[in-house]
């Protein structure tokens, strides 16, 4: 069974994390060096998060339908995304196994992977603060 009941839960947790990251004055400039718009297209439950991190522009996180045109699309189960943010997914292996699929100039996103490692405890803490320790334990 999928970790998230519906798309709203995806937005409440993973979406909120992205919104939080785009407000982080220390991390934001590093993310904006990617200078791209990335869309995370999740399955099970179907959901979509689009993140604009362009140099010199305000960041934007759209949960669900968006007017932004993504340059990079990362497709995966919402479960895989959840486990990634808990620090339990090796991106290389996930790509090799087809658990993650990457379309577009993927290098722009891959170089962010080392940057997000310090974020893993933050996601865990965010879930626990929201009373969703069950999601931490389930993964």
């Amino acid at each position: 069974m999928a970790y998230f009941r519906d798309e709203q839960e995806v937005y409440d947790h993973i979406g909120r994390l992205f919104q939080d990251l785009m407000r982080d004055q220390e991390l934001l400039p590093k993310f904006q060096r990617a200078n791209t718009i990335v869309q995370y297209a999740f399955r099970d439950p179907e959901s979509c998060i689009t993140v604009k991190m362009l140099e010199g522009e305000d960041p934007q996180v759209d949960l669900g339908p968006t007017d932004l045109t993504p340059e990079v699309t990362m497709s995966m189960d919402a479960d895989t995304a959840h486990r990634f943010w808990l620090g339990k997914v090796n991106v290389t292996v996930a790509l090799a196994r087809g658990q993650m699929k990457a379309k577009g100039p993927v290098a722009k996103i891959l170089k962010l992977v080392p940057l997000v490692k310090p974020v893993f405890p933050r996601y865990r803490a965010q879930l626990e603060a929201a009373g969703r320790s069950d999601l931490v334990q389930a993964a």
């Binding site: 895989t80 486990r83 620090g87 339990k88 699929k101 100039p105 891959l110």
Partner: protein
């Protein structure tokens, strides 16, 4: 939870022991030996080829090799549909589209690459466009080709594709990626997915008979880099290492011979095999940051890939070897194959191996410095940015920072 997914946190590279997970595949049928070129039609017909577009470059065509291959197709009952010979030194999107269009215009059902890495990558990307349409950049990425079952099932086949490599280095004839240059953006991008494995690779030393020594040297160092990085990568695994270490034995015994005596058919043949084996670890994403450093050098300053690897490899060895004993142990295994000292600290082992590589590069007559091949010091910040974003960086056994990359570039300058 997915089968095979470890329950615990992903704690970083697992450099020893039984791996939590790896995947290895080698789906390309390889035929190797002497006098094979005349039988290309016989072999390619078994892969479904009926009417074949030959993709090559003007240099190869002028040598007469293409005529011989076309004749070999006909002898095997396969019809040559024509020749696309406009592949540039660094494959680009325009050549990919032109080759795919040539295939359609001439009624081909299959593509045969006769050339080096650029030609083979053009043919592989052209097979994607020929089969699925679109523009090359639309297919940029990993595992993004169309699949059954709404994108989750078996990947759809591409038109039959075969490769006859005319250099011994890239191993592109048995890999599933194509690196293409976007000349407007001055970047190289990658299309990679399982159907891009060629169905057939033919390794015949006749195809490298006229290979200039400096290209034999550079491409040979590319193969050596694949083998060393494949054995030491965070994604190392026993399958990959079996190929990598055997490739190193062949490189040890044949690379200098093939460069100094181009008439040595055994050495040339063995280097074709070595390059073919050396690329196999990339099936498991086993590679490293020598490639991360070298890719931007090629994209921004047109440094030939093998030359960039030859220059960057020893610095990376020294950087990685001090990243912990498990990493140093993997370099010790390489040193043992190459007959070098394996005792001492990681730093000592790394330095000895790096010095061995530098000596080999000198004997092969290759440049030893990035500044020798047109890389300026003020280009380093942009190169670092490229290296950080390179897919190979994620699988290096030691995680480099931007400062590490800058230091490596400065050292190699």
């Amino acid at each position: 939870m997915e089968a095979g997914a470890a329950a615990g946190e992903f704690a970083g590279p697992q450099m020893a022991g039984f791996k939590d997970f790896y995947q290895f595949l080698a789906p390309t049928r390889v035929v190797a030996g002497r006098g094979l070129l005349d039988g290309i039609g016989f072999e390619f017909a078994k892969e479904g080829a009926k009417r074949v577009l030959i993709v090559t470059d003007e240099v190869i065509r002028d040598m007469g090799l293409v005529d011989r291959v076309a004749s070999g197709l006909e002898d095997g009952g396969v019809e040559p549909a024509g020749v696309y010979d406009r592949v540039p030194q660094d494959s680009d999107s325009a050549a990919v589209v032109e080759a795919a269009e040539a295939g359609h215009d001439r009624g081909a059902n299959a593509i045969l690459a006769v050339g080096g890495g650029s030609v083979m990558d053009t043919a592989k990307a052209a097979a994607v466009i020929f089969t699925h349409g679109g523009e090359p950049r639309e297919w940029e990425g990993y595992y993004g080709l169309p699949r059954e079952d709404d994108g989750l099932g078996r990947p759809l086949d591409l038109a039959p594709l075969a490769c006859i490599p005319t250099t011994a280095g890239t191993g592109s004839e048995v890999s599933f990626a194509a690196v293409i240059k976007d000349r407007d953006e001055r970047i190289k991008f990658q299309i990679a997915d399982f159907p891009m494995y060629p169905r057939l690779a033919m390794l015949d030393p006749e195809s490298t008979r006229t290979l200039p020594p400096h290209i034999a040297a550079a491409t040979g160092m590319d193969a050596m880099t694949h083998a060393i990085e494949g054995h030491v990568s965070a994604e190392w695994n026993p399958h990959a290492s079996a190929y990598a270490l055997q490739a190193l034995r062949l490189i040890r015994d044949n690379l200098e011979r093939a460069v100094t005596d181009p008439a040595d058919e055994d050495a040339r043949g063995n280097m074709l095999i070595a390059a073919n084996l050396a690329i196999m670890p990339t099936a498991s994403a086993a590679i490293g940051i020598t490639h991360s450093l070298s890719h931007p050098c090629g994209a921004r300053y047109d440094v030939p890939h093998g030359v960039a690897n030859a220059i960057n490899l020893p610095w990376v060895i020294e950087f990685n070897a001090t990243g912990g004993e498990p990493i140093a142990d993997r370099y010790r295994e390489i040193s043992q194959v190459l007959g070098l000292e394996v005792g001492g600290s990681g730093e000592q082992v790394g330095h000895a191996l790096a010095e061995h590589v530098r000596g080999l590069v000198r004997r092969l007559g290759l440049p030893g410095r990035l500044s020798d091949v047109g890389v300026p010091e003020d280009g380093i910040p942009a190169l670092v940015e490229g290296a950080e974003g390179d897919g190979c960086t994620l699988v290096n056994p030691r995680e480099p920072t931007a400062e590490d990359f800058a230091r490596l570039y400065r050292s190699a300058l």
